[in-house]
């Protein structure tokens, strides 16, 4: 494997998370429209629909969990940028490299690790909503937790690759590292 394979891997991760994030972002519209539907049903017909309300929660969870990695790629997670904003590109690359290695990866992998038994239990009996008329898909909802962690971990790998590419003394093989 050469360095170019690494940068290609980074770009592939970027593309994957962008696609997932863009798709998840339409959950925002779903939340708005379904939320409006709930209001109409409740105030006009006096009817409540548990599966409708649960589907809003599902959309919301999918929105913020699946899009977290894309948000990282797009630089959407807030930083305390008192120093970071004015730092040189190399300094920023070092911060991202060390941060991804020692903060992001352990954190996300720990979430994945500690949530596995939790999700496994849910899959074992294909857990459904506690409400009889609710959605029978709680095991999928819970699966979003390790999915969130693993996608974010992947994006961390991409961040590491990009930082290394920028710090690398081999200018020719730098690839198209996108800046956040």
């Amino acid at each position: 494997m050469t360095f170019r394979h690494f940068t290609a891997l980074g770009e592939r991760i970027d593309r994957l998370n962008t696609a997932i994030g863009r798709a998840a972002s339409w959950c925002a519209l779903a939340i708005v429209l379904l939320g409006f539907a709930v209001v109409l049903l409740r105030y006009v017909l006096g009817a409540g629909s548990i599966w409708l309300q649960e589907s809003i929660l599902y959309a919301h969870a999918a929105l913020f969990l699946l899009a977290a990695a894309w948000t990282l790629k797009e630089g959407g997670h807030v930083r305390v940028d008192v120093f970071y904003a004015s730092a040189a590109p190399r300094t920023k690359a070092w911060i991202d490299l060390l941060g991804a290695l020692f903060l992001l990866l352990p954190f996300t992998l720990a979430i994945a690790w500690f949530s596995l038994p939790y999700v496994e239990r849910s899959w074992a009996n294909l857990e459904r909503s506690r409400e009889t008329s609710g959605l029978p898909l709680v095991f999928l909802l819970k699966t979003l937790i390790p999915a969130f962690a693993l996608l974010l971990a992947l994006q961390g790998v991409a961040q590491i690759i990009r930082a290394l590419a920028l710090l690398s003394p081999l200018p020719a093989k730098r690839g198209k590292g996108r800046e956040e």
């Binding site: 972002s25 519209l29 939340i31 006009v44 930083r79 352990p106 979003l144």
Partner: protein, 512 residues
């Protein structure tokens, strides 16, 4: 000091220190907490198995219906911004008041209030308001310091004017703490404090602040008119009736939208989440109405149908209501399609998603932090420390306020709410005579002040980032001082007159 508590303190120090490196806050919080959990495990100070509670906590966040209001309010704000409703608003307001000295500044505050109410996220609000208003103010010869100060202060108001995102999160966290405090006292049918309570509680203090800002601008206009010159009237601009019509057009709809959303929450008709959904749909319709060359009937039909549904829901037969609802749904789909084709929708959902994801990532990081902090016995330590402060409840609250004020320099309001409140609020709320709504509003105003306080207030950095080059850091720092003084004054008043925060919720919802 026992080792676990030492670790708990070191963890706080490490988080604050590492945050300055500039790695994303959510991940710094989570990563550092995990490292200290591991350290604690090795040192025998806590059991790493505690972390198996983490997925359950995250799942609690995922299924929390109160927090659903967050993406909805953000969607509404971003949609209003993307469809340039805010810019129009400022332009018309400027025409209305611009011919008076200080008039433009007053318009900035008023538009900022409307915008802030729709947005509730400080960083975004500063950027929007600064980009729209600073160039205009400078072009017309406004004092640079005053212009910068007005923008920074107005935008920071976004944090406490309902329906601010911060208030939603604050309400949710305070309620958890309030219930915990009562359970600990042996009250097994605990009272609760809702997001609506906080919205109502924030209204009077928030509007008081707006009033004080305006008073300050009027005072400047009288004492130093050269700092806030009037704008020469534009001969091409409409005046008289035409101007009135334009003002009505630009202002009425967004103002009505915000009034409907806030009003329905305040009178207890709708939950914040429901009102936010209506507000987000309203923002889509407003955007659809502004698209040039697009048909107006879908949005108008949707509004008319919605109003008819609300008005006729008791008198008309059910089949009629269902047909009308289908018509509204059809018209709304059409309007959504128009907004999508005009290019407003895709950026709005993207931005909404990223901001929501950012907030909830911090919440997840903070959840791990609280878990580890509690595992290390940090909770008990804080409880003891607060209980042993001189001055009882007042002393404890003062200490917490000071700590939050200082933390405001380092962390976003979100992080402070997620990290600090679960730790300090239960003991504070267990003390006699501490009203949860008052405490929440004090915290909100306090954080808001810290946000714009030199030299580290984050608003000032946001402003620095987007301000034109002729505005120096010095201009910003000096310009913000009068507004910070107003804030501190308001905090003192709020301390001695808790009724400012508690009167309205008590009027509206009764209770203690």
């Amino acid at each position: 000091m026992p080792l676990p508590e030492l670790l708990a303190i070191l963890m706080v120090v490490a988080v604050c220190g590492l945050l300055f490196a500039g790695y994303p806050v959510a991940l710094t919080l989570g990563g550092v907490s995990l490292a200290f959990a591991a350290l604690g495990h090795i040192a025998g100070a806590m059991d790493l198995g505690l972390l198996y509670a983490l997925p359950q906590r995250i799942f609690g966040v995922m299924t929390n219906t109160v927090l659903l209001a967050i993406p909805l309010f953000i969607f509404m704000g971003v949609m209003l911004e993307r469809s340039r409703i805010a810019e129009d608003l400022l332009e018309t307001m400027g025409r209305l008041f611009g011919s008076l000295p200080g008039g433009l500044g007053i318009s900035v505050v008023l538009v900022g209030v409307l915008l802030a109410a729709a947005k509730g996220v400080v960083g975004a609000t500063v950027v929007t308001i600064a980009l729209i208003t600073l160039p205009t103010m400078l072009r017309h010869g406004y004092d640079k310091r005053l212009a910068a100060g007005t923008v920074a202060a107005t935008a920071t108001l976004a944090q406490i004017l309902p329906p601010a995102t911060v208030l939603v999160l604050l309400g949710d966290q305070l309620n958890n703490s309030f219930q915990a405090a009562q359970l600990a006292k042996g009250i097994f049918a605990p009272e609760s404090v809702s997001v609506s309570d906080l919205f109502a509680g924030a209204l009077v203090p928030g509007l008081t602040l707006v009033g004080l800002y305006l008073l300050f601008l009027v005072a400047v206009a009288i004492l130093r008119p050269a700092a806030v010159p009037p704008i020469p009237p534009d001969p091409a601009a409409p005046r008289g009736l035409a101007l009135a019509a334009q003002v009505a057009k630009a202002m009425l709809a967004p103002a009505l939208l915000i009034c409907v959303v806030l009003g329905s929450i305040l009178i207890g008709l709708a939950t914040p989440t429901e009102a936010a959904a209506v507000g987000a749909v309203g923002a889509i319709l407003l955007a659809a109405l502004r698209i040039e060359g697009a048909a107006r009937w879908p949005a108008l039909l949707c509004v008319a149908g919605f109003l008819a549904l609300i008005a006729l829901r008791v008198t008309m037969p059910q089949w009629f209501l269902v047909v009308l609802m289908l018509a509204v749904a059809g018209a709304l789909s059409f309007a959504v399609h128009q907004v999508w084709r005009a290019g407003y929708l895709t950026p709005t959902v993207s931005k909404t998603t990223q901001m929501t994801s950012m907030i909830f990532a911090i919440l997840i990081g903070a959840t791990l932090f609280s878990l580890v902090f509690r595992g290390l016995g940090g909770d008990d330590m804080v409880h003891r420390a607060l209980a042993n402060l001189p001055g009882g409840a007042a002393g404890a609250i003062l200490a917490v306020m000071l700590a939050m004020f200082l933390l405001g320099f380092v962390m976003d309001a979100f992080e402070i709410i997620f990290v600090v409140i679960p730790i300090v609020a239960p003991p504070l709320l267990a003390m006699p005579g501490v009203d949860p709504i008052w405490l929440g509003i004090m915290m909100a105003v306090n954080l808001q002040t810290s946000y714009m306080h030199p030299p580290l207030g984050p608003t000032l950095f946001f402003l620095r980032g987007v301000a034109p080059p002729e505005i120096t850091t010095r201009h910003i720092y000096v310009g913000i001082i009068p507004f910070v003084l107003v804030q501190l004054f308001a905090l003192v008043v709020l301390w001695f007159v808790p009724g400012l925060a508690t009167w309205l919720p008590r009027m509206l919802y009764g209770g203690a």
